[in-house]
Symmetry: C2
Subunit: 222 residues, 2 copies
DNA sequence: AACCGATTTATACAAGTGTTTCATATCGAT
DNA sequence: ATCGATATGAAACACTTGTATAAATCGGTT
């Protein structure tokens, strides 16, 4: 009974973050008004500016949290099958990754939604996100795939296979996927999908590995 | 000499559609103002409302055009390898699909950008898009995959493989992909990627086909 | 009780938005 | 040349948006 015992009894700041995360994930940064957020959080219109300086400050804070979450996800996903065979490690990696991305954190403001949105509708914070969350993950996944293929991690075929695996996972993080796959975000369904992606990708990786490198990456700019 | 010979000499209506398509694809519906569009089209602020009733009318018209384009793309992509083996048909399908989605129509307002955006940031017109552009395409692709797997098209494993193929293609239609793959939207690079996806997917399909149906689709709602 | 910093409130502001209005211009047909 | 339909133009409206302000309220300390 510190403040108004109206909503749940927690710091206004926390309620703002929670409400905003859900709304941003649901509708995107520009389709959510400060009044929406404050309304849902049971706070005054000025609360956002008081605690976060401006609407962008709030968004950045949320995105920062998601970056941390995503980094942790990558670590957990990679460490999941430690000691096992590369094939099993890939399977574990996919499963843990999808579990945390699709169902994580109370199913409402699931991080995947916001991530997927940030990728199609890049905000100025996208660079940060790519550098801190996506790239390190790609590197470790690349090492694993390279091991599976028996090729150096720099081989363009490795990069291409990493892309194939990642797009299959990221593709599940958007509203259309959620609509086409009924029970998405329930653990059982996610496990099934992870199993499919693992088997499918292992087959694909094997197929790519045992053929000439027809595709030489052109104008390697980076 | 008809109207103002200022910009290029074409109907204002057409210039509006062209400018708006580019801007919507670039920044999304809500991040483009009517004044932006009219400014770029060299038209008055009232032009949008005069020709399209309101901003939404303009967007719907553009989306309608993209739906037609996408339907045509599906037909072309499926007919590309007619008479050839299923494997080759899949390869042709992927190549034609990507060519038209990523490089089509003057590289600026490439349809894929808007499609990808519509999928993450669903507008009320998304249902139309799913029903008219995505589903028929999935059905035909499903038939092809079923043939490849030697399974009935209703087998859940077929649907899962279709999803894997599609997510790999759709995944290329967003800004992050364009940033990670340097020369995307040039025909040569697209051909290389199409080849990779084809080989990878054929390997994946084969791997899934020759194992028990571990994943039974839960609560088949549709 | 009185004070003080931190928080919450109600209200207002300035800028930007989609849309409307109505006057003017343009062009083809009579 | 005149008329009528179509198209364009400048200005303004009504509304929403993010943000700022100043007063009011609260909780703890002296």
């Amino acid at each position: 009974m510190a403040t108004t015992p109206s909503v749940t009894d927690q710091e206004t700041r926390q309620r703002l973050i929670q409400a905003a995360a859900r709304l941003f994930a649901e509708r995107g940064f520009n389709n959510v008004t400060v009044r929406d957020i404050c309304g849902e959080a049971g706070a005054n219109v000025a609360a956002v500016n008081y605690y976060f300086r401006d609407k962008w400050g709030l968004y950045k804070e949320i995105l920062q949290g998601i970056i941390e979450y995503q980094k942790r996800t990558s670590e957990l996903a990679h460490d999941a099958g430690e000691g096992k065979s590369p094939e099993e490690r890939l399977h574990h990696y996919i499963r843990v990754f999808l579990q945390r991305a699709l169902a994580g954190e109370g199913r409402e403001s699931c991080p995947g939604k916001l991530v997927g949105r940030e990728m199609t509708d890049p905000s100025p914070a996208l660079d940060l996100f790519i550098d801190e969350a996506i790239r390190p993950n790609s590197v470790r996944l690349g090492a694993l795939v390279a091991e599976l293929m028996g090729l150096p991690a720099t081989d363009p075929r490795v990069g291409a296979c990493v892309g194939s695996v990642q797009t299959q996972m990221v593709g599940l993080m958007n509203p259309v996927a959620a609509r086409l796959v009924p029970g998405l975000n329930t653990p059982a369904v996610i496990d099934g999908i992870a199993h499919h992606i693992a088997v499918f990708s292992l087959g694909g990786i094997r197929a790519i590995a045992q053929q000439k490198p027809v595709w030489t990456k052109p104008e390697v700019k980076q």
